[in-house]
Symmetry: C2
Subunit: 197 residues, 2 copies
DNA sequence: CACTTTACGATGCGAGTGCATTGTAATCGC
DNA sequence: GCGATTACAATGCACTCGCATCGTAAAGTG
């Protein structure tokens, strides 16, 4: 079996091209030919590595998810639950070009998950994970006396997540500036956390 | 000029068909032929009333917006700012089949607004209006002593809106039940309003 | 050196797309 | 009633799409 090439590396290369197109022109503009052109390869090669377009899409989305997940994981050594939550949320918001790009794709994927099963499954799997992390941090803060004990950590985590998701579009279309987005997040955290000190 | 037909009624009829398709299969599945078939008319007729597909899409979105706006307006005679806000927000969330349908389309439109100019313009125009309404209600509640005076009504309004938008997808893919969605909204309103009583 | 498997590149196909064009009833002002 | 305009219906066109097929060069294994 000839295996001169790195299979996974090729797949990532193609998926990267796909993500670039999706970011620029939306998920609708993603076609086998466009992806091949963007990746600088032939269309036959794209087909060689992905049996169907949907598989290619899902692979790219999982890769994007992983990329964001890694960045959030980097923020996990934050000095306090509040700092971690702040960092984790801001990581998802379109505050610079890279995150703008990711947020565009994420939003398109979110919309797609409403009519297609596979993206919906992926989201249904990822959501408890993300929101659960938030809830854990809030509970940790409660034990540290930094969040009122009578608040519901689970629901606060949901609100945190939904607020972040809801901020994406207004930020992307320019209704909220990056500064306003950050200010909104900080305002909300101020209301959630006790201003100790 | 022969005018045996009601021009606007025909346009609404076609737009309704478009919205049904968009709700069932997503915005991508909307084509001139599909819309014509769904509306029970010829493709030539669709073209007669809409010069381009984009115009048809925008018309349908504006119509959807107006439909939701009317329902929210009905809720405006609520007895208190809190009751109004609650009603206005729940009106946007996918709690029954009709609103599920609307939320699906709205989400697709939201994603489209990130890569297309016209939808983005529409949203940029509508957002200050909606959020402004929320802010007004919160300020009214502050004057009534139902919301702490030191809270920022403008930011609270943004958070209210973003939370609602962020709830749409988790609700649509079934990660949150309608009951959990309502509970989350009520929880947030509980935190925003003073439990005077 | 065969023989198989991998890794493509090239091409083609049927379906579907938005839109333009054409034809034709019907209905108005005159 | 006659020309002009409206309201469609039907068809065609150029294009794009995902995917299948075919051919082939390279690299391993025996």
């Amino acid at each position: 079996m000839p295996k001169i090439v790195d299979h996974e590396a090729r797949r990532r290369h193609i998926a990267d091209a796909l993500l670039r197109i999706a970011s620029r022109e939306g998920l609708d503009a993603v076609s086998l030919r466009e992806v091949a052109a963007e990746a600088g390869v032939s269309m036959g090669m794209v087909q060689h590595y992905f049996a169907t377009k949907d598989q290619m899409l899902m692979f790219a989305m999982i890769q994007l998810n992983a990329r964001i997940g890694e960045r959030v994981a980097t923020a996990m050594d934050a000095p306090s639950p509040r700092a971690f939550l702040r960092a984790a949320i801001l990581e998802l918001l379109p505050l610079d070009d890279e995150r703008r790009s990711e947020a565009r794709i994420g939003l398109a994927f979110l919309a797609r998950s409403v009519v297609a099963d596979e993206p919906a499954d992926l989201l249904r799997q990822a959501l408890p994970y993300v929101i659960g992390f938030y809830a854990e941090q809030i509970r940790a803060a409660q034990e540290l006396g930094q969040v009122r004990a009578d608040l519901d950590a689970g629901i606060e985590a949901v609100i945190l997540y939904t607020m972040a998701q809801g901020l994406v579009n207004p930020a992307l279309i320019g209704h909220l500036s990056p500064e306003e987005v950050v200010a909104t997040v900080d305002y909300h955290l101020d209301r959630l956390f006790l201003t100790s000190g």
